[in-house]
Amino acid sequence: MKQFLGFIKKEFYHIFRDPRTLLVLFGIPVAQLLIFGYVVTTEVKNISVAILDRSKDDVTREITQKIIESDYFTLTQNLQSDTQIEEVFKTGNIKEVIVFEPNFAQKLGRDGTAQIQLIADASDANTANLIVNYTSAIISDYVQKQNKLQLMPMQIKPEVRMVFNESLQSVYMFVPGTMALILMLVSAMMTSISIAREKELGTMEVLLVSPLKPAQIIIGKVIPYVALAFINAVTIIVLGNLIFGMPVNGSLTLLLAESLLFISLALSLGILISTIAKTQQVAMFISLFALMLPTIMLSGFIFPIENMPVVLQMISHIMPPKYFIIIIKNIMIKGTGFGFVWKETLVLIAMMMVFILLSVKKFKIRLQ
């Protein structure tokens, strides 16, 4: 046991004396959380719009007023003619032009219908969609309020409620995703690199010749990273809550326990990588490409799995982060207990066992 403690102490010396390792361990998680927090967002705010009002009557002014009053839009320019429309899209950062047809109020009063044209810059398709939806919503809201005065013959009014995330905030999406990504990276990449380093330097052989058992060497190498990754998990939960208002509606203990499970899984994956990789570079390369990209793309972190082609959907089923994200979303957002995530938990445990078995097998072959 004393030998073992000495080993762990040595690992901590390595970590705390290497500025690069420290940066990866503590700088990157915080930076990534902040970057994702401010970049991965599906909300639009302060979008620049231009208005071409060919009618200039009370109704168009009122609608314009409503649009500007919302948080979403800023009126940047009043256009005078059609020819300016293309120009403002090309030169300015205007994302939408709203066009009222001539004699707007008059037509509305006389025929009961008038036209507004919404032209959006669809070079960014998602944003364009959002902007147009927001604008339409504001306009129909206005129309409905006007209609209250009159009696409508028939009306169906769907009442929409977004449960678990009433205001459709994107933090609900990226905090779990970032957590999965960072724990995966820190645990798997850092352990595989640190084991590969011992191999590269030749110290691994000296350790294997010593009375330490291979299992002790491996466990001694991963324990510090369990501790550090766990600190990272806590940091993300706290920062997510303080800065982005991400709630923890379920049990914090369960959340931390599941994080610990995911960390162990990522570590066992890191060990497996290190049995394949002979040098630190190879270990880093495998970790980045085999772990980081799939975690971002295929785990449901950013892109919905349901929309993927069947082949990619099947691949996503073997991505550990997918299950972890489901689990922590359940706990943090829906506030559900273990009863609702036990299946995913079992999948993670099973995956971990497979990685450990494979590593042990690989390790033995290497010793032959």
Binding site: Q3, F7, K9, Y13, R17, E205, V206, V209, P211, Q368
Partner: protein, 243 residues
Amino acid sequence: MTNKPIIKVENLVKKFGNFVANDHLNFEVYEGEIFGFLGANGAGKTTAIRILCGLSTPTSGNLNVAGFDIYKQTELIKRNIGYMSQKFSLYENLTLKENIRFYAGIYGLSSKEINKRMDNLLETLKIGDLRDKLIGSLPLGWKQKLAFSVAIFHRPRIVFLDEPTGGVDPITRRQFWDLIYQAANDGITIFVTTHYMDEAEYCDRVSIMVDGRIEALDTPAGLKKTYKVSNMDEVFLKLARAS
């Protein structure tokens, strides 16, 4: 030096697929001697040394190291041997003291014992002021000597040195061999592989491997007499060319 064998190797065979790295090796190493294990690159030296250290398992053969069976008593063997590979094996970002504490610690030495031996070592090498220096900041020659001192810090009965002096200047090599003699005087058996034929002359006995077989095993003087040449270089060339 006694004539009591501390390493006994009978019919050691190691195959990698169809390739025979060690082809029926037979030799004994006596307690307290400096045993040179020579051979060209790829002759199978490192394979054999790895098997003797327990880093690899033989395909067949009877092996006994420090009185223990290599198949059944690996753990006991490990407690009684030291190993220094051709790669430098101290941790660069640990100080000398931390390196010694770490390596001595994994052999189960008590803190008190470690401190006592460390003081002794630093005094003998006259490097008390290097105690708290990071290993990475020391010149290569010192690192090499320290790596050896650390490899025998737990006082093993045998120390295996796999090309310990690669890439080191002649003066440091000479100093390194002084340390080896010192260890041999203290009763540690030295099993050393090398490329340098002048180093072969320092050994009590040498074996020369060619293509996975031991072609010759004798004292340097005996070998020179047998092959009727004046130095070990020529012995080696004669044997290597004959194949």
